[in-house]
Symmetry: C2
Subunit: 465 residues, 2 copies
Amino acid sequence: MAHPPKAAFLEQLEADFPDGFLSQDPAELAEYGRDWTRVHAPAPSAVALPRNTDEVARFLRACHEAGVAVVPSGGRTGLAGGAMAKDGEIVLSLSRMRAIGEVDLLGSTVRVQAGAVTEAVHRHCEPLGLTWPVDFASKGSSTVGGNIATNAGGVKVIRYGLTRNWVLGLQVVTARGDVMELNGALEKNNTGVDLRQLFIGSEGILGVITEATLKLARLPARQSVFLFAVDDVAAVLRLFRDARKAPITIAAFEFFTDRCLARVQRHRKVRTPFEADYPTYALLEVEDTDEAALEGWLASLFERELIRDGALAQSATQAAELWTLREGISESLSATGLPHKNDIALPVAALESFCSELDALFGARYPGWEICLFGHIGDGNLHVNVMKPDTMEKADFLKQTSASDHAMFTLVQKHGGSISAEHGIGLLKKPYLGYSRTAEEIAVIRGLKAVLDPAGILNPGKILD
Amino acid sequence: MAHPPKAAFLEQLEADFPDGFLSQDPAELAEYGRDWTRVHAPAPSAVALPRNTDEVARFLRACHEAGVAVVPSGGRTGLAGGAMAKDGEIVLSLSRMRAIGEVDLLGSTVRVQAGAVTEAVHRHCEPLGLTWPVDFASKGSSTVGGNIATNAGGVKVIRYGLTRNWVLGLQVVTARGDVMELNGALEKNNTGVDLRQLFIGSEGILGVITEATLKLARLPARQSVFLFAVDDVAAVLRLFRDARKAPITIAAFEFFTDRCLARVQRHRKVRTPFEADYPTYALLEVEDTDEAALEGWLASLFERELIRDGALAQSATQAAELWTLREGISESLSATGLPHKNDIALPVAALESFCSELDALFGARYPGWEICLFGHIGDGNLHVNVMKPDTMEKADFLKQTSASDHAMFTLVQKHGGSISAEHGIGLLKKPYLGYSRTAEEIAVIRGLKAVLDPAGILNPGKILD
């Protein structure tokens, strides 16, 4: 299997590549060696910073021949440790490859390098009335390559689907250093197995994404953002079922509990538009919806007692404030305590029974603990955060949450769910992969890995041992 | 490599499976052994007609152990020979597995067996205000399993994307007879490589799809269908560019030339809503669009001379009549002559220059011949049909078109296009695969095939030799 580079290998890289290609600066090793997780310590041997695809290809060819372990690296905003370099690997950072090409208005596409930051792509396209509809809280740091390699989700999946849907072409460098141009700028192309799909969501174990042709969506002409107060998760689901049938175009349907709100309020000094406090909240964004139809539906929500209160943002500022209540949660939990994070998905139809069984499980496992539930409930995606009790030692906490994870994932498996909806597997969820994938599936993934990366140099230890 | 079954193998199948599982009736061999292509003669050894997944698994395990070649078979409406059994294979027909489950209204999904007919799924979901938005002329015969195995396209791709986007879960039986349940009913599930994507569009060479959980879309509340008359393909593209920016939701944007129309009129006795004849036509369908905005845009098309004439269907019957002008083309070409068919795609931005180069090429190669161009131009997808001149022998015609295909595909390759947009590769496009896929890509596909089907029993000779 792949191993850390020897000193001579690094010297040869220094000789073969331009100045500044390789860094061994301790501050850079610490920075590039980790993502947003804080479980493992970063310990890469070096950071490679190519400026173009040819350098990526030459670098990987050298690593393949020498059997040197490589960690492909984007914006490092991952939450599963997929971009951690903890075992002396060389980090291959795409951060210098961030060019964004001219928007093709006829095809509604744009070609970008993998290191382009998500939000920079949004800003590039917005003046033309277009957007790349991949949108989440870390968009200011995450990169296109990382988004594609993790098939990123986010707040607009219910409307636009996952990142996979918004990638037309991929330029991928294989572990052997071959450059593959997959699918170009084509909307339709049925010429044998679509290899592009293999790399999307493969967390860097099959190849390195260097460029992409992104498919763009038209920006909506009008958006409306609502906050609703309801009694519990079951009420959120009743509201969702109703919204699905209403004459509206749902762009986002999110929820959070009062405990999440309390943490956000402690950290961010925000407030809800309501006079009273409620147990559970739903955030709805609609796009380009007929106003009369929308108003009729809203009025009926009160009449039919589907909500206890509701508020419409009257301005872009108010809309942003409502979104802060939801998008500020993850940051606020980490700023005000130590959350143990999980990111699970269920079939939408199974959510209600799952949530009540989860309540019972947590009541037994974590009596009196603070559990913060939020997420993209319209997609069946729940973020489950267990907060460390102030009086408990961290080691005890981690031991207890790890044991409870097995119990929760057993429940997830029973309901046909996923142990990782959008965060991926990386290092942190690897011990639990068997709850979502069978031995046969894992054997096939190993087989694919052996085809594409026979020396096993790409992101070793991620997803699979 | 895999081979036809010996007599003893077929006898053992007869013994191991229920009565009627295996047919060797000559009429059934002829019927199940071919698809809509008429290039090769059907010659299967037998037809296997399983009633459930367990029978599929047991059958494939037996074939894998004996090295017997199998052709997976759906509605056999393919146009690339992907479902032809011309070399003594056993056809594995999913035609008895056509159950359609109850629609899950909360998740907007439905579970179906692979043999369910596309239109039957539409009819099943329509009363609930939902549809599986995979729609094309052969929907009355094509099956869900075949649609998925070929990642079918059609007339609504511009609005809804390819079949790939509308498949949540797949049940696949591998060549070894293992049953894999991939992704269940999950919208979000990032737990390692998404194997489901491998099987979508793989034309039966990697596994056999037995069931699927389909994602459903809401039926639009209103649709409007327009026919526009313009001067040439360049004018169609100008109109398309304008429509992309207009305040409308495009559900379909199709085009055809006067030669296609003439063939449809010869076969179907239909007429356009226009007084005069024009060189080129565009068909536009819009969904749920604000009427005032739509009318304003339409008026501006005349003012800005983007169209020479235009007509809006005033009823569902008229809309169907306009659609017949477009959807009747393929059938009318075959009924009134012998077309040599190609199905190519270009990046939308490259269409205009490609089309003018194609004109020049065809002018030189096919002087005075009848070329019928039509297709899903909004997706960059052109159907290029060369009609056999009445005075030419068929053998001469095929020889000449084959040579010209190489010239056309060279042009396609130059513009970054695809030699098969939605028909797939099968047998008929296999000699040309290299125009769309590199040697490295083909080597990777061979590697994947070896992982999933080491004995090479599944659809041998399709896509790859």
